[in-house]
Amino acid sequence: MAPATSSTSSAITLNINGEKHHLPIDHRTTLLDALRERLDLTGTKKGCDQGQCGACTVLVDRRRVVSCLSLAVAAEGREITTIEGVAEGDELHPVQQAFLDLDGYQCGYCTPGQICSAIAVIEEHAAGWPSAVTDDPGPEAGPPPLTPDEIRERMSGNLCRCGAYVSIVRAVARAAESHAEHRAEAAKGTAA
């Protein structure tokens, strides 16, 4: 049977955490609502639904976005990663582990968005992206040290109403350090 579609809906395929999901979808559906209401991937949270709180942050083509302002139909063909897909089997992602070890949360509602965002922050920083608090944005300056000020600025799109920011900043710093050590190890392995 052909999937039911009209001019205002489409049969789409979403690639989420390496798995393909086929679903008919009303074009009005946000990626956030598709994840939570249609695919039972409720790790991604709905906070403000206006792009202001970051609770719905997911990775699309490895970049962090707010899924509440992304249309599901526009996400077709992209590689979507949600909090359910960041661990390697039973081994938590280093950012997840750091949030656990350093109590980077209180109620936990904003945590999936914080973690997805932090994963991307660490990648963006490693790629040399400056931020609004970087003294010299020039390309010759190299990546700035990932200070608490840098982390706070880069994570400012994720609100935590419990106010767990102090621990969140520590967790991101810890995860970034272990990420850098991993990269150094890997580079050494390649050199040897």
């Binding site: 074009h27 970049r63 992304s70 249309l71 526009a74 963006e124 390309p139 400012s156 799109g157």
Partner: protein
């Protein structure tokens, strides 16, 4: 939300044709503003033409030493681009001062220029607004307007343009290129936004159905010494209450060249030509910088609750120019 059709365009000609097929169609870029406005009922398109896959996602150095920026380049990629950071650092700073990391990954250059004001009356469909419903009135003039315009406004609309990127582009003489059914065209960014007058619903000089394809920056050696500073009500992730993009070169204690644009003070990014005229050739000191700011702000017409912006902008201009002059002296 009104139901809508969705199509993805793969080339510019196709995008124009898809849009032309429906008078209620809109181009969809990153969606960070449009999707939000659709949720609140301010925008009610019958069809979205997704332009994110168009081959307009490159930042290319031009032969004359400038840059040609594709309309679908994301804010993130623009701010991270080595030549943007090297040649126009204030542009990278302006982009990084806007929104959040998530939104910068979604938002595009073309969409940034076409984003709508965040005036609370515009975004609330239960309120009158001349921009949204022409002739319905402007409650902001007598209502909540602490972050509204002090320059170039009219009694019909006192909303400000929210872009940070646009302020730096305005300082550096950006030119907007577009494709339309009648062929390609271009407009300097300083002429892109129409005067408010009694038609605040008419915002840009873009012809109906046209698609922004590129934003070009001419070579500007002065821009290599530039700075964007933004004042807001919290340290990060908020719209400006005032901002400045400035570039300055000083020779023998005199201003050789200056560029200045102001943000969050008008319905468009505000090129401060009166200030630039005062700066040109004058001693690069605090007195000149203050005189330049005063020359520009002489035209300010603050409302009862936003007079602070005139003082704020004066201090901001003096502070940024002083910093740039100091950097030049080193």
């Amino acid at each position: 939300m009104r139901e809508f059709g969705y199509q993805r365009a793969h080339d510019v000609t196709g995008a124009l044709a898809l849009l032309a097929a429906d008078p209620d169609a809109r181009f969809l870029g990153g969606g960070t503003n449009l999707v939000d406005l659709m949720k609140s009922g301010v925008e009610r398109p019958a069809r979205l033409v997704d332009v994110r896959d168009l081959p307009l996602d490159r930042v290319e150095p031009t032969a004359d030493g400038g840059l040609r920026i594709g309309a679908t380049v994301t804010n993130s990629d623009l701010a991270a681009h080595p030549e943007v950071r090297r040649r126009y650092p204030a542009l990278a700073q302006a982009v990084l001062a806007g929104a959040s990391g998530q939104l910068r990954n979604m938002a595009t250059v073309g969409g940034n220029l076409l984003q709508r004001t965040r005036c609370g009356y515009f975004t609330d469909v239960s309120k009158p607004c001349n921009k949204r419903v022409p002739g319905s009135g402007c409650p902001a003039v007598t209502g909540e307007h602490h972050n509204h315009a002090v320059l170039g406004a009219s009694g019909h609309c006192v909303a400000v343009h929210p872009s940070d990127m646009g302020v730096a582009l305005t300082a550096f003489d950006a030119v907007v290129s577009y494709a339309s059914a009648d062929g390609p065209g271009e407009t300097p960014l300083t002429d892109f936004y129409l005067p408010v007058g009694d038609t605040p619903h008419r915002e840009t000089a873009l012809p109906p159905g046209a698609l922004i394809t590129h934003v070009s920056l001419p070579a500007a050696p002065v821009a290599a010494r530039s700075r964007y500073r933004k004042v807001r009500e919290r340290a990060s992730y908020a719209f400006a209450i005032g901002s400045v993009a400035a570039a300055l070169t000083v020779e023998d204690g005199l201003v050789r060249e200056a560029r200045l644009a102001l943000g969050a003070v008008a319905s468009r990014p505000w090129r401060a030509r009166a200030a630039e005229a005062v700066l040109a050739g004058a001693p690069a000191d605090g007195a000149t910088f203050a005189a330049a700011a005063d020359a520009e702000l002489a035209a300010a017409r603050p409302l009862p609750d936003n007079g602070y912006k005139v003082t704020l902008m004066r201090n901001l201009v003096v502070s940024v120019l002083t910093e740039l002059a100091g950097r030049d002296a080193r």
